[in-house]
Structures are given as structure tokens and as C-alpha cells.
Symmetry: C2
Subunit: 514 residues, 2 copies
């Protein structure tokens, strides 16, 4: 095996199924190795931020490492923003970046760049492969880093000549850094405080928002009367009928603070202490600074599932959650607005579907209603870097073959990576994209008003406006091979969602909102 | 004036006309300042790599600094790849990046990122504004850095609270780093060697490829019999009838080496010694290593125009170039291929038009023929980071109001930033985009063959293929507000070019190539 083949074979043995790729000349040996070794499927993305965003979406649901293949420094640079989101989601990702032949780099060819500096802000682990003999150990270390704790971003740069060198020997798998066991004192403290009564909530993040962690949190809530609250930018949330409902912390600080101030006791489970998205004059960064009743059961890098299970045991909260489900919305009628859009979606969501939630201003009603839907998973924007939705949905579909992905997307955000739709078409992925076309960077309009700018000047108005020209999302989608339709009413939205669900592949709905 | 208003007023006084912006919450004071101060026009781009690529295109032609406004670390990250190209083009650009309020950063909010590390690979100058009082001096320094020598990339990060702080005082303009005067020894050495006779060429780069520099080079060529050769990835080239023709160095190393080996004397003028784009086994990185007849008249950071003028004076090469013009191509007929496409374009180019040349495999015939066209400017991909074309064309149109921009683009590359078409539509820019739709990453197919892979495996074939599905470029363009048409023949291409030229705004032509 040459270096590239060794790398791919270690990836396959380490559980990597998919490589989201936009390769160039310096990655040709790695591309060939996908054919020669087998076990890892290359998925072509037409922009590197699609590769990294799809890797993020895949990793959040598959809980196995996703791999990307990126072309030199500029290819990595194009994928940084979604790696930033992925790092905040603690998604396990191994980025393989090809580099110039080691002997060619000193000529400073056009594509040469300081890759290490570009990679650092988004990489928990970084290495530049120094020799063909080290490739196997480097790849094992990258995989172990990606699999550590909840998940990490590992970036390995491999020069072209090292990929080609042969034969390259294997190396023993490296051990991922495990979670430490739950802190018994933290468990005892949380149990004692919860037993003491008073208004309490479990503030859930990371792996506490789905699966075993969520179920344990639900039993604790049922037993103690504590409410369940989840972080705004969650990596993954399971919700719907039969699951303990988790209220999503509001995006704006006044509302978030109001929600949190209702509680005498806040138990942090897999989440860091919540902070404001932006800093606003006269408002604190940290919502809980000075709050007397904060107990950390497990931080974001600790094993929240084990900690919640231990807490449930301590509280004798066994069995399954059996609380009441909220009532679902009525069938909406008439011209679309965010409430009617939410009602239509909530009534439609198929069981076990995945909802990608990257709209902000148009998605608030949906988040309030989603607990009444059929049980489903949601993934959201963790790091605030705009435009990940189409890529997240692509990766989510590849992680869950046969499952319908519903993507609730803002139009400002959808304009970032429309070419991800092409990968959805090529791979025939069952993704329904609903673009909330309010034709503005609405969130900025709200922020302008918050900053006291009620009558924006001409430039300000133009810089937050998406009307002139209005984007024809159905044409964009068709251009990239995805059929679609425009809807103005709730009835038409319902029909379009059903039409999309009846197909095997992707579909885009441009939902015209006021 | 608050900090943001001071910054914008210094930009306006320093010659900045346009700010290519994709702002967010942390840049709201800067957006408002565009309205309150005046003099700098905000141009909304729907992706930050459009902002930075348009700034590059603008700066190459306007030769005054372009400004960008980017949202925090992820916004800058999205714009890095085209800043890489811009740095290689030595374009004068000031990036203004908003940051969280200084007191908010320690809360590690979702969008927080190590901005300095991300900025370093593409920034010749970088500063994080430390206080409102320093804003004026920081902005003056950033402008001076951008204007230094041929042009540089300056990145200034300004926290949100510093933008809002008032009053903020002004500061004296800082002096850009000037070019050193031409080295008289280098001029004398070049003159002596050129006078000695033998096969000689001037290898031109940077400012030697247009305006006064090119005219001086032409006179030297006429006087001495030296040929003119230009770098592959030029920032700007003037060519066409009545201008000294410059042969573009071939992209592939064997061909480039063959061209260069014909000369006993090679005089480097505003260019670094040429190197191979990639490293290939058994081929050197540096084409001229070991060549006995290399003379550096001016390096890429030296004043090639002054050096060429001095050399022309020394050689008594006065007056204007009066050499013969190559004959233009015949009117092409029949099914399109790269030769017929080139002939149609070369015959069509309006006088003083700007051609953006980002296609590679489909553009080689065009580069060979362009000297026979009406006089025009070309800008090309300098740093090899794919996908800049639509953004370059947008910026070029804003730098040259009323001038038709012809953009010869590859389909793999066009899939990167299709949303730049929206800015072309909004600003009603006269850009004709010709997408060379060969439906493959053709350059990779060629590289596979070069690497001896004549029958690619299934994965390799799929990772270099753009057929399934074929992108409908006319639909994508229409979605972003730009009309267009498909052409299969040379005759239809000619008609479509004329139709585009008759409108005031943008137009896209999908040219189907084999």
C-alpha cells in the first residue's frame, strides 16, 4: 500500500464510511485510494463548506467520524466556517488536506498557504505529516482525536509525495480520550438540591438532549417536578410525542434571562453555563452570573449521559417517562406566516424524521410547537456561522438512509451554499428544503431596531434587504437538479410537503413569508 | 463621530469608494456609519468570498484600495480563499472585521473564533483594535499598508463597543511604504545583456503587464528583438491590436519549460522566477534553476514600471511600439469547442472591455488568440483558489462603470459562487458570463492522465464528473436575477454575445463544450 491507500484503509477500519470531497491535483493519490481500498465512499461536494457542513450533519447523527478531503490551504479555508460550527457541535470529523509535494513547497507555488494557521481556529487536533513512514500513526492519532469524548475536529495535512510513497506500513489504533466517570459529589449535590424542592430546571446540552440522556432527564423531571430547558444552538435534539418536552432557550437575551430567572435551581447537564449570542449594552454576557442556585452536573466535555443516569438512580427515578404531551396545532389555513408555517410542519413531520433548523427569525414558532409533533430529531446551528443548512441536511440524509430530512431554512442563509442541492440531487437524498422567503436579513432588521435604529438610512436598508432582485429559489434549485415549488398559503404548503414526501429524492419549497 | 463613523470617514478621505459587505449584528454601527458619513458605497454580497473576490477584481483595475466588511471570524473565514488570490495579485484591500464587544469575548459566545490565526495566512498587515482612541490611527495604518508598493492586504478587527464609542478623534494619514527606486546596476546589466544579442525574453509580471510598464516593455522588445512573455496567473494584462503582444506562459510544466528553454537570456520584470503550479516527479519546481542567463530587472515587490522605463531609456528605445499585429481568427462555424469559442470571443471583445479569465482547460486557445482582439484588459486567477471568477467580474464592473466585462468561466469554478450573480443583477452590472460547460473537473481528468491513471475507477470518475445531474446554468442565473441562454454552436454564441452586449446589465451564456 502507498501512503494514500494506507490512510484510507485505516479510515475504513476505524469506522469511517463517507468522505465528503472536493479534491484537486494534490489529492489524486487519495482519490485513487478510495477506489483501490474500498470501504469509504466518496461524496462529491461543489464547495468545501458543503464538504465540512455535510460532515458535521453526518457526524451529529451517525456518531461515527466523518471524513473530508480538501485541496490545499484554500480548500481548507473554504471549509472553515462550517468546521467552526462542527467544533461547537463537538462533531467527530477528520479533515484530510492534501499539500504540495514536500520538495515543491519552498518554491512558493501559487496555491501555497500557511495551512497550520488557517486550521488552528477550528481544529482540536492538527498535524502536518512529516514522512511517509508516519502516515499510519498520524491517521490513527487523527481518528482517535476525532473520537475523543463527545467528538473533536482533527486536521491532518499530507504532502502529495508522501501519499504516493510505497510501501507504507500500518500502525496500531490509538485510544480516544475517554470521558472521565461522572463526579459522584456533583451527582449527590444535584440530587440533594432537587429533593429540596423549589422551582428547578435541568439545563441540557450536547448528548443530554437525545437518546438515553434525554430519557434519564425526563425521568428526573417527572420525579422532581424540574423543567427541561435546552441550549439555543444544540447539536441534536430529540423531541415529539412520547418524549420529555424540552423548552429551547430563547435567542434574545431579555427573553432568555426572563426564562432562567424563574428558577431557584439550575442544573447544568452537558451544557456550559448559557451566554448571550452577542454583547448588548446594559445586559450581562452570562445569564447565570451571580445566580445562587447553579449546580454543574456535567460540563459540555463531560459524560452527561452517565451523569444523568447516575442522578436518576440516586433519585429513584426509574422506569420510563410518562408525562403528558402538549396538544398539537390545528390545521392552519390562509396566507403563510411563521405561525402557520410552523403548524403545517409540526403536523407533517414523519415519525423519526430529521429536522434541520437553521432559520432563526422564522423558526421560533416551530421550536415552541415541535414537542407536539411525531417523535423526530432536530439539528441546529451551533456556532452561528450562517449558511450551513443545505450542507447539514445533505450530511444528515447520508447518515440516515431512507429517512426524510426536513430543512427549515432562512433565505439569507440559503444563499450561502445553494450548490449543496446538487449533491442532494446526485445522491438522490430525501431532503425537503423549506426556504422561509421573507426577503430580508430579518434578524438584522430586528437588531437594528434593538439598537434604536427605527428608520434605517438608504445604505442600511439596502444592506439588509433581499428583494431587489427577489431570488427565485425554485429556479436556483432546478438549476442544481432539484425540483421545487412556490407556496403562499398554508394549504399549498401542506400539499407541497406531501408531494415532496412522496418522492425518493430532494425537493425545495419556497415559502413566501411576510 | 463615533468609532465607526471615524473609520468610514478616514476610508473615504483615503480614496475608498466601495465597501463590499456582508454585515452582521457586530457590524451595525459600521453599516449605519456608511449612511451618516457618506462617500463610501456599500455593496451587498451574499457570501463573504464574493465580497473579497469582488474587492480583488475592483482593486486590480481601480488601483485604489477596496474595502470589505465581514462578520466576525466565520465571516472572514468565508472570504479567505479569495483574499489568498488577492494577496498573490498584490491587490490593495482593507478588510474590516467586526468583533464581539470587548467585554463579551471572554464569555466564549458561539461565534467567537481565533480571528488572528485565521487572518494571518492572507494578511500582509493585521491589527486587532485595542481601544476606541486608537481607531483612527489603526485605520490610517491599515490604509497605508494596503497602498504600500504594488498593494497589500490589511485586516483590521474592530470590537462592537469600540465602533459605538464616541467621540473618537482623527489621526494623520500614515505614509504607504514606497517602492525603492530602480536599481541602476540591474538596469545596466539587463541593457548590456540585451545589447549582446541572442534569443532573449522579458518575463513580465504585475504592473509590467499593462499601461506604461507594458508600453516600455514593447519598445524594448522592438529595439532589441526580445520577446515578451507573461506569468500564467497575472493580476492584470493589457493586450489586443496596437499593443505589444505578450505570450502567456503555459500552465503545464513541460510546455512552460520548453518555451523558456528557447531563450539564452531571460529578464525578470515585476515577476518572480517562474515555478510549476504543482510538483511533479522528475520535473523541477523552478523552471529557471540552473539557467545561466537570468537577470532580475525588478522583482514582484519592486517598481517594474520605473525599471522598464529606465531600461528603455538606456537602450534608446523611445517613441511608441509599432510592431505588427497578429491576424485575427476567421469567423467560427459549427459545434462549439474551445478553439471556436475562443475565435468567437476574440472577434467580439469590445474596445477597452475587461476579460475575466478563470477557466483553465477551456481557455488556452483564447489566451493564444487574444492579442488579435480589440485592445482590452484581462484579469486572471493569481493564487489558484478556485471559484473567484463571478466575484472578480462583479468587482471589475464596479471599477469600470459602463465597461462591458466578459467572464470566461469553467463550470467547476462557476459552481463556487453563483450568488455573485445576484449582486451583478442588483447593481445592474454589464457582465457577460460565459460558462464553459464541459461538465467535468476537466483539469483533474488531465492530471489523472498525467499521473498515469488512464482508466479511472468508479469513485475517481464520479469525483471528477459534473454530469449527473448536469447543472442548468441558465436556471441558476435566472434564480439570482440574471437572464441567460444556452448555446451549442459558434453562430449561436456570437448571437448571444451580441444580445448580452445590447443590454445594460448582466447576462449568462452556458456554452456547451465537448
Amino acid at each position: 500500500m502507498n501512503g494514500a491507500e494506507r490512510l484510507v484503509s485505516i479510515a475504513a477500519e476505524g469506522g469511517v464510511e463517507i468522505c465528503f470531497a472536493n479534491p484537486g491535483t494534490t489529492e489524486i493519490p487519495l482519490v485513487s485510494a478510495l477506489d483501490r481500498v474500498g470501504g469509504v465512499r466518496g461524496v462529491l461536494c461543489l464547495h468545501e463548506n458543503v464538504c465540512t457542513g455535510a460532515a458535521d450533519g453526518y457526524a451529529r447523527l451517525a456518531r461515527r467520524p466523518a471524513m473530508t478531503l480538501l485541496h490545499l490551504g484554500p480548500g481548507l479555508a473554504n471549509g472553515l466556517a462550517n468546521l467552526h460550527n462542527a467544533r461547537r457541535a463537538r462533531s467527530p470529523i477528520v479533515n484530510i488536506v492534501g499539500d504540495h509535494a514536500s520538495w515543491h513547497l519552498s518554491a512558493d507555488p501559487p496555491l501555497a498557504m500557511d495551512i497550520a494557521s488557517a486550521a488552528r481556529p477550528v481544529s482540536d487536533w492538527y498535524r502536518h505529516n512529516g514522512s511517509p513512514a508516519a502516515i499510519a500513526a498520524d491517521m490513527q492519532a487523527a481518528l482517535a482525536a476525532a473520537k475523543s469524548r463527545r467528538g473533536r475536529i482533527a486536521t491532518l495535512v499530507v504532502p502529495h509525495d508522501h501519499q504516493q510513497a510505497a510501501p507504507v506500513a500500518g500502525a496500531e489504533p490509538a485510544a480516544p480520550e475517554p470521558f472521565p466517570p461522572p463526579d459522584p459529589d456533583a451527582v449527590a449535590r444535584a440530587a440533594e438540591r432537587l429533593r429540596a424542592g423549589g422551582a428547578a430546571c435541568l439545563f441540557l446540552g450536547g448528548s443530554a438532549l437525545w437518546g438515553e440522556g434525554l430519557r434519564a432527564a425526563g425521568r428526573i423531571a417527572e420525579k422532581t417536578g424540574a423543567e427541561l430547558l435546552g441550549e439555543v444552538g444544540f447539536a441534536r435534539l430529540e423531541t415529539g410525542r412520547g418524549l420529555p418536552p424540552v423548552a429551547r432557550l430563547p435567542y434574545f437575551p431579555e427573553q432568555a434571562q426572563e426564562v432562567l430567572d424563574r428558577f431557584e435551581l439550575i442544573v447544568l447537564c452537558g451544557a456550559k453555563s448559557p451566554v448571550s449570542f452577542f454583547g448588548y449594552d446594559h445586559l450581562p454576557s452570562r445569564y447565570l452570573s451571580g445566580h445562587p442556585g447553579v449546580v454543574t452536573l456535567a460540563g459540555p466535555d463531560e459524560d452527561a449521559v452517565a451523569a444523568l443516569s447516575a442522578l436518576a438512580d440516586t433519585l429513584d427515578a426509574a422506569g420510563t417517562w410518562g408525562g403528558a404531551c402538549p396538544a398539537g396545532p390545528e390545521a392552519p389555513r390562509g396566507a403563510l406566516d411563521p405561525d402557520r408555517l410552523a403548524a403545517a410542519l409540526v403536523r407533517h413531520i414523519p415519525e423519526d424524521a430529521v429536522v434541520v433548523l437553521t432559520a432563526v427569525s422564522s423558526a421560533a414558532p416551530f421550536s415552541r410547537l415541535a414537542a407536539a409533533a411525531r417523535p423526530h430529531s432536530q439539528i441546529a446551528l451551533t456556532g452561528g456561522a450562517i449558511g450551513e443548512g443545505t450542507a447539514l441536511a445533505t450530511g444528515a440524509a447520508l447518515a440516515r438512509p431512507g429517512t426524510r430530512i426536513l430543512h427549515l431554512e432562512a433565505d439569507g442563509s440559503a444563499a450561502y451554499l445553494p450548490q449543496a442541492l446538487w449533491t442532494q440531487a446526485r445522491e438522490d437524498l430525501p431532503v425537503t428544503t423549506v426556504v422561509c422567503a421573507n426577503r430580508a436579513y430579518r434578524i438584522l432588521r430586528i437588531e437594528l431596531a434593538r439598537a434604536g435604529i427605527v428608520e434605517p438610512g438608504e445604505q442600511t436598508a439596502r444592506l439588509t434587504d433581499l428583494r431587489a432582485p427577489a431570488i427565485d429559489w425554485v429556479a436556483v434549485a432546478r438549476g442544481f437538479g432539484v425540483p421545487g415549488t412556490v407556496v403562499d398559503t398554508a394549504e399549498d404548503l401542506v400539499a407541497a410537503l406531501e408531494r415532496a414526501a412522496a418522492s425518493t429524492g430532494p425537493f425545495l419549497i419556497e415559502a413566501r413569508l411576510p
